[in-house]
Amino acid sequence: MHFTATPASVVSLVPAAEGSMPLIPHWEELVFGLIMFAILWWVVAKKVVPNIEKAYEERHAAIEGGIAQAENAQAEAEAAKAQYEAQLAEARSEAAQIREDARAEGAAIVAQMRQQAQDEANRITESAHKQIDAERQQAAVTLRGEVGRMSTDLAGRIVGHELSESSTRQSIIDRFLSELETGKVQPEKVTASAPGSSTVDGQES
């Protein structure tokens, strides 16, 4: 502080001397500073801090409550979404199932129809075959009887009544028929003599 002492300050009055010693507190200022601090502290401690801290607390609670609410809503939404998705998947699989079933059913119906048609066709074919067989059989029997009678008539007309003895006549007819069947007899002869034979036939019966 020595450097501060100017001739003026040294010589001058008390305030100047007090002012030239900056590290010596002016006691009124010290006390006054304490009073000012006490006042401001009271204001801050009783009015400012409680009000602001209360607002902070409320804000904190509000934000926390808001977060909890939002979390709830989100959880709810997620649950709903999961449920919806499950339902969707179920519906989708059900639809696929239905489609599959329909396809299978259609295939089964087509197969059944085909089988039925096949069966019907087979049956028709078979019955036709049977009918043809039966008719041929009948025709063969009829033909055999007819041919035998005609032959006997013819032969009887050619060789006379000798042939009326049944035992020999039968064997001759059989032999003839078998020859006829094997194709050794010419049919021209029969057809040529047919008109004559029919008249004979009528006369004889």
Partner: protein, 272 residues
């Protein structure tokens, strides 16, 4: 009453006192600004400004926090931004989330008061930091001093508090050496540095600005052409110093509150 230019600002003695050509260099006397006497009490300019600032701060803070709501209005929002600095950055971060609320009024008051007492050095009208008078830093330091010792004694007991000053886990032989050092730290160094740091910064800052401003005026009015030219950079320098002082004024308030919080946290700590 004029708060701005007391008679002692103007050099009363025309005699040269170190500065050449009749310029009187500023002395610590520029800080001695008595306004009037009230019996044995000399009321100074700084005391008046301290009262004005305290009153203004009280009314402003009450007004801004009175209707504190969950959703802040413009004024409350501004105030909250200011309030959060001592609350979060200083008190909560230093003392910890568990105990800091109890000391919020102290920290907030100290920070606000020191800040605006400092800023008085940059207000037109006062242009004199209240805290450049050592009485005010000493008063605030006294509060801090009493508070942190009180907290320490309450927490650890009187004997426990002294034991707590020595860091745990030291070899027994070192304790007699460390203990006096810690004692000096707790009872002398801390309050002394707390008060002097604030006072010194404000005192020197104001002195510098005063020097540049009066010097520039002197050059402009008394000097010849060359010196008149020099006055321009001197004024510029005064402006730079003013801006720089704004930073210092804020920083010193911050440091004062931060150290207070740190001392309280130290007294509260379970271990050294």
């Amino acid at each position: 009453m004029t708060l701005t230019a007391p008679a002692s600002w103007v050099g009363t003695a025309p005699t040269a006192s170190g500065g050449g050509e009749g310029y009187q260099t500023p002395t610590p006397e520029i800080f001695w600004q008595p306004l009037f006497e009230l019996g044995p009490i000399t009321v100074t300019n700084q005391m008046a400004w301290a009262a004005i600032i305290t009153a203004a701060l009280s009314f402003a803070m009450i007004a801004l926090s009175k209707n504190a709501a969950v959703v802040p209005g413009k004024g409350q929002w501004l105030f909250e931004n200011f309030y959060n600095l001592p609350r979060n950055t200083i008190a909560r971060d230093m003392i910890g989330t568990r105990h800091f609320r109890q000391y919020l009024p102290l920290i907030v008051t100290l920070f606000t008061m020191v800040l605006f007492f400092n800023l008085a050095g940059s207000f037109f009208g006062s242009m004199m930091p209240v805290t450049s008078k050592i009485g005010f830093p000493i008063a605030l330091t006294l509060v801090v001093y009493v508070v942190y010792h009180w907290i320490g004694v309450k927490k650890h007991g009187l004997g426990g508090y002294f034991k707590h000053m020595v860091p745990g886990g030291l070899p027994k032989a070192v304790v007699p050496v460390i203990f006096p050092l810690e004692l000096i730290t707790y009872f002398i160094t801390r309050p002394l540095t707390l008060a002097l740091r604030l006072f010194g910064n404000m005192f020197a800052g104001h002195m510098l600005i005063y020097l540049f401003v009066t010097g520039a005026f002197y050059f402009l009015i008394e000097g010849d052409i060359l010196l008149k030219l020099v006055s321009l950079p001197t004024f510029l320098m005064a402006g730079v110093m003013l801006v720089f002082e704004l930073l210092v004024q804020f920083l010193q308030a911050f440091v004062f509150a931060l150290l207070t919080a740190s001392y309280i946290a130290g007294a509260l700590a379970d271990d050294h």
